[in-house]
Subunit: 322 residues, 2 copies
């Protein structure tokens, strides 16, 4: 059965019961708009879009995988502000031949990612269209704290990271090579990333001076902090700071003739958190120190690895590059 | 120049200066998330998606038109809750051959719709993809009032309408027939609907018992109020209650051999507001009385026009109908 076999109301009737209500939801789906509690008086909001053939392939990702990932990469954006996510809204463009099971799977995946964090799926919109497009907007709460921006890193701060590095890029490479069996845990990290969301709030409470979600790769995203803050992020050698990740990536790198270090430095979509803390702060778990913030030199803001300019060829991702 | 000729950062650098900041924006685009003031402690949120070939055609609508319409239909959802919109976030899927001017036009259209209402465009996301998809999420504020739901209509209430009726459907029909010159004001109502947003807050203040945004047509949307409230909406004959609209639609109906009354009853996307008020309330402008709420009879909740079941064949729109 495909979505064309149901009316919109019939499809919604299958989706609504799957969606988590959320702890802060005052009025859920079904009216012109939803109402969500924001006792702090400020809401944090971010949005992301996933496009079939660009961000996922139907033969690699189930609907559940796409729902999970769409939710999680948005939830990570709230965590990266030091916020606590409260609610999502979702739009779905669905080709008429899309199985209804894919759509209910998407809903279940959104729910599986959101429910443990008390996050509700409070609204949405459906449309037909020739390819699948999932757009998610996430909202969060700061509980009285200041948001943690990209621009607050200061000379002498400790650079710290929470989450896995390079796993998602390696998992995607294994899928592309048709060899997912080499390291199923890496493939799973691509299909259903599970970043340490609670670390965002913990970093905010611990006085993090800057933070962001590593969606485009360590070097590229660290460069954003460096430019926004007007500093240099001097990262420790990867063999030291990401030793555990390098071990986890070894089999995949060997099988594919790739460099695990490149995945660690340039791989995107793990959605770990990169933050800076004043020297002497006890880092909240699971943050680990991975470098230092230096004053900007004659070369301007930027990122060093082991004191040197990194040589990796492809530092990130550009959606419109030919 | 197309979007493929620019990096994502270059494209964003052209978009950002066009976007309105908004009166409630505490932190605008550029970080992982934006921060918006919600002093009431509750936010109202809704989302809508527009798909090329379904909701607009590039040969009929400019980027500016699509931006205006995407914003306005979302703003109307907040108005329909009795709310005051504060902010939007937007995702755009853009084919690589899309002219950069279309994207900056979209941004300018969003801004033109939002800025007069103090609404900011506070975030977004871009992706490549084979067709244009614009997804907007809107947020609003209730200023201490209860949201106006679809479920509150009570026997004896006055049914009232604010905005134009049937103009958008007629404008679309003129474009489809290649005869937009018959009634440019109707075509404009389709391309850039301009619903009376302030009437939503006014209705909330005046004690409206129910309200919704007429996006799918008078009969279909009135039926939603009837079912949600468990009542019958007994609408006055269209020749009386929508006489002005029927006059405005006459030339187009004559030219196309269509019935103006069908556009009034079943035409969508005008985004006027349908509300119910307790009898005796002075209706806030520009609401006009168009019927009465009756107790539900043996036929169950529903809509009557002039005391009879309406005969219009196509009462609405279904996105997945073949």
């Amino acid at each position: 059965m495909t979505v064309a076999d149901l009316t919109e109301d019939e499809l919604l009737a299958r989706i609504f019961p799957l969606l988590p209500r959320g702890a802060a939801t005052l009025l859920g789906p079904g009216d012109d708009a939803a109402v969500v509690a924001v006792p702090d008086g400020r809401m944090v909001v971010s949005t992301d879009v996933l496009v079939e053939g660009r961000h996922f392939r139907r033969d690699w990702s189930t609907g559940h995988d796409v729902g999970w990932r769409a939710a999680m990469q948005n939830l990570a954006d709230i965590a990266a502000m030091g916020g606590r996510p409260t609610s999502l809204v979702v739009t779905l463009v669905a080709p008429s031949d899309l199985p209804v099971d894919w759509v209910t799977g998407l809903s279940a995946g959104l729910a599986a990612a959101c429910d443990p964090h008390g996050v509700g799926v409070v609204g949405g919109d459906l449309s037909g269209g020739d390819l699948i497009v999932v757009s998610v907007t996430v909202h969060g709460e700061l509980d009285g704290r200041a948001p943690v921006l990209r621009s607050g890193a200061r000379e002498g701060d400790v650079v710290a990271h929470a989450g896995v590095r390079g796993w998602s890029a390696a998992g995607l490479a294994l899928l592309a090579a048709g060899r997912p069996e080499i390291a199923p845990e890496l493939v799973r990290a691509y299909l259903r990333p599970d970043p340490p969301l609670a670390a965002g709030v913990a970093a905010g409470r611990a006085g993090a001076t800057s933070m962001l979600d590593l969606s485009d790769g360590l070097l590229r995203d660290a460069g954003r902090v460096a430019r926004a803050s007007g500093v240099v992020l001097d990262l420790d050698p990867v063999a030291v700071s990401f030793a555990t990740d390098l071990v986890a990536l070894t089999d995949a790198a060997t099988a594919l003739g790739a460099l695990a270090e490149d995945w660690v430095l340039a791989g995107g979509e793990d959605h770990g958190l990169l933050a800076t803390f004043p020297a002497g702060v006890v880092l909240p778990a699971p943050f680990r120190a991975v470098g230092r913030v230096r004053a900007v030199g004659s070369a301007g803001p930027g990122v060093l690895v082991g004191g040197r300019t990194p040589a990796t060829a492809s530092p990130g991702w550009d959606h419109f590059a030919r």
